[in-house]
């Protein structure tokens, strides 16, 4: 622990952030005890018709989508050879690693017998299940992300030899990361292809895997911009010249890509709509909400991104990124909760309980705290002095 970080902590022990974080952590601990002593029923609003709530809809679905910055950034940098994005790789990898680790952590609350979470891999493989694919990929990708993250750790610990070995693996790891991400980002969408009778036709499609994959790229690009913006202020003193110099260029580049991919996503969604001939649903209540999602959270940010890039207006791009991130959450919520079980009367529909919301906040808070802990100590936003000028 270096001197200046302790100084910072001492100065800001009673910041609003710390106070709120503490409250959430305490509440989370209480709900945790309730969950593991009273069962799922004690803290959730789940029931026989609604087996999945926000712990799947938010913690898993959104968590995985928003962690997509890891594979998009490292692919851009190492596979597509866009070296100028190099400075963004470490923060993105760290975010992705923490994101996935938290997804797995949160799953321990949701599944009935978390101590059996490894059964699908090591006891009996349910290979016909898309959930098996999700589980296998998340498990492998979490490992890959951890290895990709370790150079920062080894640099911090001063373990040069092993650090250099891991760095040599970068390309292989990146390609594995992209393959695994492609698979499980899309298989999360594919999970719902088994239930055409339960998911509203405007959201159900045989193309769900493709939709999920393409939108995860939008999510990844936008999260890198969005998160860069968030960490900019509190982490500014840790960011080195290279990071800061490249920051605006990176935002422009990612903004441009996001604009294009969002546009592509919009197009394939329309193709999906046309293919299933679902136009007539657009005039219903669900149709209106579908249009809000498509126009407000896909078309609009795509357009904003384009304007921002054309005018080199970083502020507009940042707003577009925020909107896209929100849009991804809206989309994953729609598929896992809003449009799911649409045929049930409203009295039988799901609404999250306070316990569930508390745990979701708890998980996010832990993520932010760990991110802060690591990025204030290890070379994330700056290069380690010993390894400069290497790439």
């Amino acid at each position: 622990m270096s001197v200046d970080t302790t100084a910072v902590e001492k100065k800001s022990l009673f910041t609003p952030f710390n106070i709120i974080a503490t409250i959430i952590l305490i509440a989370g601990a209480i709900v945790t005890v309730m969950r593991f002593t009273g069962g799922l029923g004690a803290v959730t609003n789940l029931d026989q018709n609604n087996p999945w709530g926000i712990w799947i809809g938010f913690d898993l679905m959104c968590g995985v989508a928003l962690a997509a910055g890891g594979y998009t950034t490292s692919a851009a940098c190492y596979v597509f050879g866009l070296k100028k994005y190099h400075s963004a790789v470490r923060p993105a990898i760290l975010t992705a690693f923490l994101g996935y680790a938290l997804v797995v952590f949160a799953l321990h609350y949701d599944v009935g017998q978390p101590w059996r979470l490894t059964y699908p891999l090591f006891v009996q493989n349910g290979t016909t299940s898309l959930l098996f694919e999700v589980g296998l990929c998340v498990f492998l990708y979490l490992t890959v992300l951890f290895i990709e993250f370790t150079p920062a750790l080894f640099e911090w610990l001063g373990m040069t030899k092993i650090r250099n070995i891991v760095v040599k693996l970068t390309l292989a790891l990146t390609i594995m990361g992209v393959v695994l991400s492609t698979l499980h980002q899309s298989s999360l969408g594919a999970l719902f292809t088994i239930a055409p009778s339960k998911l509203h036709p405007l959201w159900y499609s045989q193309y769900l895997p493709v939709f999920f994959f393409v939108s995860s790229i939008c999510a990844g690009l936008s999260m890198v911009i969005f998160e860069g913006t968030l960490s900019h202020k509190p982490m500014h003193h840790l960011m080195d010249e290279e990071y800061l110099n490249n920051h605006d260029g990176l935002i422009l580049g990612f903004g441009k890509a996001a604009s294009l991919v969002l546009f592509g996503y919009f197009s394939i969604k329309v193709i999906g709509l046309a293919y299933d001939n679902n136009w007539h649903y657009l005039t219903t209540g669900y149709g209106a909400w579908y249009l809000v999602e498509m126009l407000g959270f896909v078309a609009l940010p795509s357009f904003l991104y384009a304007i921002g890039v054309r005018d080199k207006n970083i502020t507009v791009i940042k707003w577009a990124a925020g909107l896209t991130v929100l849009g991804i959450i809206v989309n994953r919520f729609n598929i896992s909760m809003v449009a799911f079980n649409y045929q049930l009367p409203s009295a039988e529909r799901y609404w999250p309980s306070w316990g569930e919301i508390t745990i979701s906040l708890f998980v996010v808070t832990i993520g932010v705290l760990v991110f802060r802990f690591i990025s204030t100590r290890m070379p994330i936003f700056h290069e380690h002095p010993d390894y400069k000028e290497e790439h």
């Binding site: 009273g38 087996p51 599944v111 017998q113 790891l173 393959v179 698979l183 899309s186 239930a195 055409p196």
Partner: protein, 351 residues
């Protein structure tokens, strides 16, 4: 070399996913096993007495219900199966008056629950029942998401060993040669137990003999790829709470496309990405080569120029030198001559 090992591992991971899929995709229409048993429910015969519910409760040793089984007032509210009730009879007001319909697990021929479970806790037995093995269940509840008939229920209030609960078709009783509890107890023979293929014949015979009494459809013959438990009714099935929009595709067919994409992604992506990497690397290399060439070029050009300049300078210097030498020589000559003239002059003066 390391890269190859990694991709090999990845390929193996992909193959483990891919193998059973291709096996499945290769022969998806085996049809039901010839010995598959089932039950036929005839909604025109059911009187809503709830005797089947009682039998099920006893056979499976389930906890006592809130209201006794002879209390028929529960029929006024819609119910579904839950962790304490594996079968339920509901009353529906239809175009032909009150109709009762029993519901329980339909023991699908290609069950959505089994295809969804990532630990294979569900299994379609050859003789009909879809069995459940609580000792491996993780409790992800994807089976509940997947089942199109909304049957599996979960023990949400069980902290340590929650199970998925659903009708077992009384598999233990079948093994002893007994009838399922509900079938045995039904006073009106609304339930008929037998080989599935025979049940279809019976159902068809009833429909053809009494065309006015039945709608011409055996629910479960093809729905979601077919079920072991089937229904005939005097009113359209949608009027007794059964979805008629499920289609005939079974759950494995619905997800086959997504699963089939796995080996393709595992096989193609590394190649594509490797290609893109090679291209970008090559672009870098070309750019680099060009840069090196340009520098060299510039250097040679600079060198040539320098040489020329030197040469020029030299020749210029030559000229200048020449001139300077000439001047010097001239000066020297002049100087050498001068004293003589002086001498001559003095000599002239002296003489």
């Amino acid at each position: 070399m390391l890269r190859r090992t990694f991709l090999g591992l990845l390929g193996a991971a992909g193959a483990s996913v891919a193998l059973p899929v291709s096996a499945k995709a290769g022969g998806k229409s085996f049809g039901p096993h010839p010995d598959t048993l089932g039950v036929l429910f005839d909604a025109t015969r059911c009187i809503g007495c709830r005797k089947c519910e009682l039998a099920c409760n006893e056979v499976n040793e389930l906890p006592a219900p809130d209201k006794k089984f002879d209390d028929l007032s529960v029929l006024d509210t819609k119910r579904r199966t839950d962790e304490k009730t594996l079968t339920v009879v509901n009353k529906y007001e239809s175009s032909k008056g009150s109709v009762f319909r029993k519901m329980q697990c339909n023991h699908c021929l290609e069950p959505a629950c089994a295809s969804a479970c990532f630990v294979k806790a569900f299994k379609k037995e050859h003789n009909g029942p879809v069995s459940y093995d609580a000792s491996v269940c993780v409790g992800c509840r994807y089976c509940m998401v997947a089942c199109p008939f909304e049957i599996p229920a979960y023990e949400y209030d069980e902290p340590l060993t929650p199970r998925v609960m659903k009708c077992t078709m009384c598999a233990p009783r079948l093994a002893e040669g007994k009838l399922p509890g509900c079938v045995e107890r039904c006073p009106k023979e609304a339930l008929t137990f037998g080989l599935r293929k025979d049940l279809i014949k019976i159902a068809r015979a009833r429909i053809t003999t009494y065309p006015d009494r039945y709608v011409d459809h055996i629910y479960g013959e093809t729905e979601m790829g077919g079920t072991s438990w089937m229904y005939i009714s005097g009113v359209p099935f949608s009027e007794i709470g059964m979805r008629e929009d499920l289609g005939t595709k079974s759950a494995p067919e619905l997800t086959a496309g997504a699963l089939a994409a796995v080996p393709i992604v595992v096989g193609m992506w590394p190649v594509l990405l490797g290609g893109i990497y090679a291209v970008s690397k090559r672009k870098d290399k070309i750019a680099n080569d060009e840069r090196v060439a340009a520098v060299k070029d510039a250097l040679t050009r600079a060198g040539e120029e320098a040489e020329k300049k030197l040469h020029d300078e030299l020749s210029k210097a030559d000229v200048a030198n020449q001139r300077r030498i000439e001047v010097e020589v001239k000066k020297a000559v002049e100087e050498a001559l001068a004293p003589k003239e002086e001498e001559a002059e003095t000599n002239e003066e002296e003489s």
